[in-house]
Amino acid sequence: MEVRGLKTTVVGSYPKIPDPPAPGRWRTSVEKLQRGEISPADMHRVEEEVTEEVLREQADAGVEVPTDGQIRWEDGLTYFARGLTGFTINGLQRYFDTNVYYRQPVASAEVAWRAPISAADYTFAAAHSPRPVKPVVTGPFTLAVLSRDEFYGNPDQFVMALAGALNRELRALVQAGAPLIQVDEPGLLVHRDRFPLFRRAMDALWDGITARRALYTYFGHVEGVYPAILDLPVDILGLDFVAGHRNWEILRRAPFTKELGLGILDARNTRVETPEEVAAACRKGAELVPAASLHVGPSAGLEFLPRRVARKKLEALVAGVRRAKEGAA
């Protein structure tokens, strides 16, 4: 099996603090900010330093397409909801089936885009990474299903309003020079029955976007929406093959016509995969799409793990991909 062209990537988040006893500078800075001992500008500088550290760590591990680690995101919802008009931010909610919580956005007025939310962060990361950085945006469908709507009273209108607003955000990222943009939609996998709405949202979201388009789902499999998702207007579909182990079997039912984000490292378990396991999964992935269309990485964002384990997983990823390529040579 030809496996030489495949690339290594990540899905998004990265642990913000190192393992003890190293000082968790981000964490202590948040505490200082809350006590008024440092200014928001000081906090911003700390976040920039941690972002640089995380970009370096991914580069050192050998990841070809990194992200900025989402160091500035308190969670995937509020980072965007706070930047749009129309949202207030409510109490804590559990994020899918994880033990991670997010503050729930509440749409209390018409939602609209007013200015770029993530473009400056992308520009900073791109300027401080030796490799091309992939910006990540939480998709309109997931943002809608994890938020509370007190304005539209109609889920379709709420999702489509968000799709329109986030289309402006994607355009801002293209303007900032992003060659590839990833949109995360794990929410689709818990509302598969709403795929027709999801498809309309994707059409509106990606309208006029000239960058390469990646759509990632995680925390489950695509039973019920495959092969329909192949019709979505994107270039890369990222899938979770750990929590969604059944994707291996589901994808065999129809030829996979997109590039494939192969999420094979368990982002939610500390057991570090061996390079052999990674190589075997790469070969299996190359049975689904040509190797040059494979983007191999973790099953989800790595912030579910302690920093040291995240780093080891990336090293195993790169070693495993190298092994797969050598085995094929």
Binding site: D19, L92, D97, V100, R268, P306
Partner: protein, 330 residues
Amino acid sequence: MSTPPTSLPPLPTTTVGSFPKPPYLLEARRKVARKQMEPAELQQLERRATEEWIRRQEEIGIDILVDGEMYRGDMVAFFADQMDGFKIAGLVRSYGNRYYPKPAVVGPVGRRGPLTVDWFKFAQGLASRPVKGMLTGPYTIAEWSFNEHYPTRRELVLELARAIHDEAVDLEKAGARYIQIDEPAIHTRPDEDFELAVEAMEIVTRGLAAYTITHVCYGDVPKIYPAMLRLAVDQIDLALKNDDYVLLETFRTPQFTKDIGAGVIDAHSHRAETPEEVAEGIRRTLKVVPARQVQVSPDCGLKTRTVDEAVAKLVSMVEGTRLARKELRS
């Protein structure tokens, strides 16, 4: 399983388990972490704080007491640290800048010896009212740990259930008449896993004569209703106040057949509810569940409050319950 001892008043008051640690104890814990204090000295302070909380609960007039968990950090790590098969993998963020030490299962799990019995005996020895034995349930321990060892979650959960059962038996032998098994993660995967959670709870409480309780919070409770009525416990304790009692609508049909621990105090707000607010919450509960099936408690452990906030909330809870009791008699 059993009915609560008849010496209790109607609508007995209790709490979910944890209380705030006094400032001197927080300071001592920091010192021990920095190796500036001996663990033995910390334990002295933990005993002092436990004694203070037993006194306070009796003064406030709570009917079924807890030891307040002055000696516990995280509710899962406390058990994992003392059991075979676990190591602490590192710090993981749960929200904001809150991090917790998440355990990893790296070998066969099991109890080396009793985990909570000494503290139970100490607290009960100080109290003139019953003290609850407090355990974290197997599903939650498994769900909030990484699993590097067992091929399936099922094997891990059932092995943990056997260990927690042994602990419950030891608590009962030590005199515990009430045993609470906290399962805040039980509704994490309702479709996939609820039968497993039911099976695990059967193992934990099998053959116990004590009155058994499970505490469930924060998550999609309607999704596990009415299935949760099959959990092998006498009482399910739930957060009602923080969502303004909307859960009660779920419990109208089918009927709530267990006893309910009705959470009438928001555990995560600074403001103390008024006694009238508590009484109103109890009245609303009584429209759905008969009084003989109701105990009164806060929504969740109070450890994130200050000592003063927690005391003010508990005083209101007891006064509000007295108001509701009067109406019961009239």
